[in-house]
Amino acid sequence: MRALPRGTDLPVLLPVAPRRAAPGGQAGRLRARHGAWLALALLAALAVGEAQAGPGEDSIVAAILRWTPLLGQGFALNVAMSFIAMTVGTAAGTLLGLCQISLMPPVRGSSRFVTQFFRNAPWLVLLFYCMLLLPFELRIGGVVIPLPGWVKATFGLSLPVMANMSEIVRGAVQSIPFGQWESAESLAFTRRQTLWMIILPQCVKRMLPPWMNLYAILVVGTPLCSIVGVNEAMTLTNDALAAEARRELLVPMYLYLLLWFFLYCYPIALWTGRLERRFAVDA
């Protein structure tokens, strides 16, 4: 895209992410070699499992393949929950983040508190609260809307997403040089116009990579819902293991599930990394 004039000293044009990627990449980011290790571990576990399988029993691979459609169904629920929680959390978090930069101290203070609270509360605690405190159905007028467990759990997941999104928005807005506000002000833009027409459009690019990181974290967090009894991939894996009642299936089966998550998250990580690098030179 746009080239940066060499040696510029404009604050507006300085790289968004000045930190250079450390050799070997950023800590915590998924890499292809992680997937390779995972695949290797799965192969090894399969080999060990096959060796342990008693005479006359199914092969481990056959057992895993037999349960794959069910696992896929469960995983679809993980994906659906992550989509919904991300959508709800992003919308609510954007509002909350804008409240965090409000000029009104009560609004700013309370939204900061809410953000910090939900950012630091353990996800599992939030999930339990939502499962236990939300009713199993909603009555609005004469309409009854059932609230199954997975919906309540999704709501629970969207709370930390909201809080993290709120911080992403606040951080992005505050990373825009003050001169942008000042020049907009001197052109007689109102604060709201400045925010919507000048500041936020510049924030979108900066927010995209952390937002996608957040999504990857959320996806990996969805198996927490198995603890509160949602029939997602983790729960169904446990069910399958219980039905098979074969110890040697345990390790390969969980590794197999892990591989699903890797295959889903790896492209997101790749894309996020690419965006980060592009914006770092592009600004």
């Binding site: 746009r2 080239a3 940066l4 004039p5 510029t8 000293d9 404009l10 604050p11 507006v12 044009l13 040089p177 001169g179 942008q180 000042e182 020049s183 907009a184 002000e185 001197s186 052109l187 007689a188 833009f189 109102t190 116009q193 027409m197 000048i198 459009p201 510049q202 600004a283």
Partner: protein, 245 residues
């Protein structure tokens, strides 16, 4: 009876915490005049300009712009700023918009003028600052001098009564300084009222009707350029001029 000055500052005081930045500044800027403010770093020049368009409030004194009291809690700041253009050292163009869009934004969204008419005017202004052909370039694709001229066009698009320039060439290479100064001089020659904070003494001497020298929040010396440079009496002014010239 002489005409009312466009800008009149009387005994302006401004402090940031314990730091008294302006300690009783006063001067007049008649309509159509060009006033240059010079002085050492930290003497409050930028603050002075920011006070004139109410970017920062003042504690004491009076600033009148076209008869409007800036130090009035009921002041319509937006109305004031529509009449006062300001150009910054760091250009502060909006990097996500092209040069043309930068110039058009405020007239469309602040003055609510017709887009077609605004665009025609914006193109004329871009031509005036000699940037034809750069209409669709983003700020990141322009040199410092080109960005600064775009910023000037952007301010002019509001049809201000007065333009404030805050060290607008300080971030530029020596070769590009000139192209920006030429633009400002043309404006001055067309009768635009200008308050210019600058370190370019040659430019100040050439373009100013009156020069003010500030130090530590007060005006220590002022005069028409010829006298100012030839007969500065105040030791601080003399020292400053000897360093700069």
């Amino acid at each position: 009876m002489p005409e009312q000055p466009l800008i009149r500052l009387v005994d302006v005081h401004k402090r940031f915490g314990a730091n008294e930045v302006l300690r009783g500044v006063g001067f007049d800027v008649p309509k159509g005049d060009v006033v240059c403010v010079i002085g050492p770093s930290g003497s409050g020049k930028s603050t002075l300009l920011r006070c004139i368009n109410a970017l920062v409030p003042i504690e004491q004194g009076s600033i009148r712009v076209d008869g409007r009291e800036v130090n009035d809690p009921k002041l319509d700041k937006l109305a004031l700023r529509r009449k006062v253009g300001m150009v910054f050292q760091q250009y502060n163009l909006f990097p996500h918009r092209t040069a043309l869009q930068n110039v058009m934004m405020a007239p469309i969204h602040v003055l609510k003028q017709e887009r077609v008419e605004v665009e025609a005017r914006a193109r004329r202004l871009i031509a005036k600052v000699r940037l034809e052909g750069k209409e669709d370039a983003f700020p990141g694709e322009l040199s410092g001098g080109q960005q600064q001229r775009t910023a000037i066009a952007r301010s002019l698009a509001m049809n201000p009564d007065v333009m404030l320039f805050d060290e607008v060439t300080a971030a530029l290479d020596p070769e590009t300084v000139k192209e920006v100064l030429v633009t400002i001089r043309e404006l001055a020659e067309e009768g635009m009222t200008c308050v210019i904070v600058t370190h370019e003494m040659g430019f100040a001497r050439e373009v100013a009707d009156h020069i003010y020298f500030t130090d530590r929040g007060v005006i220590v010396e002022h005069g028409a350029p010829r006298e100012f440079f030839a007969e500065a009496r105040d030791p601080r002014t003399r020292q400053f001029l000897s360093q700069i010239l």
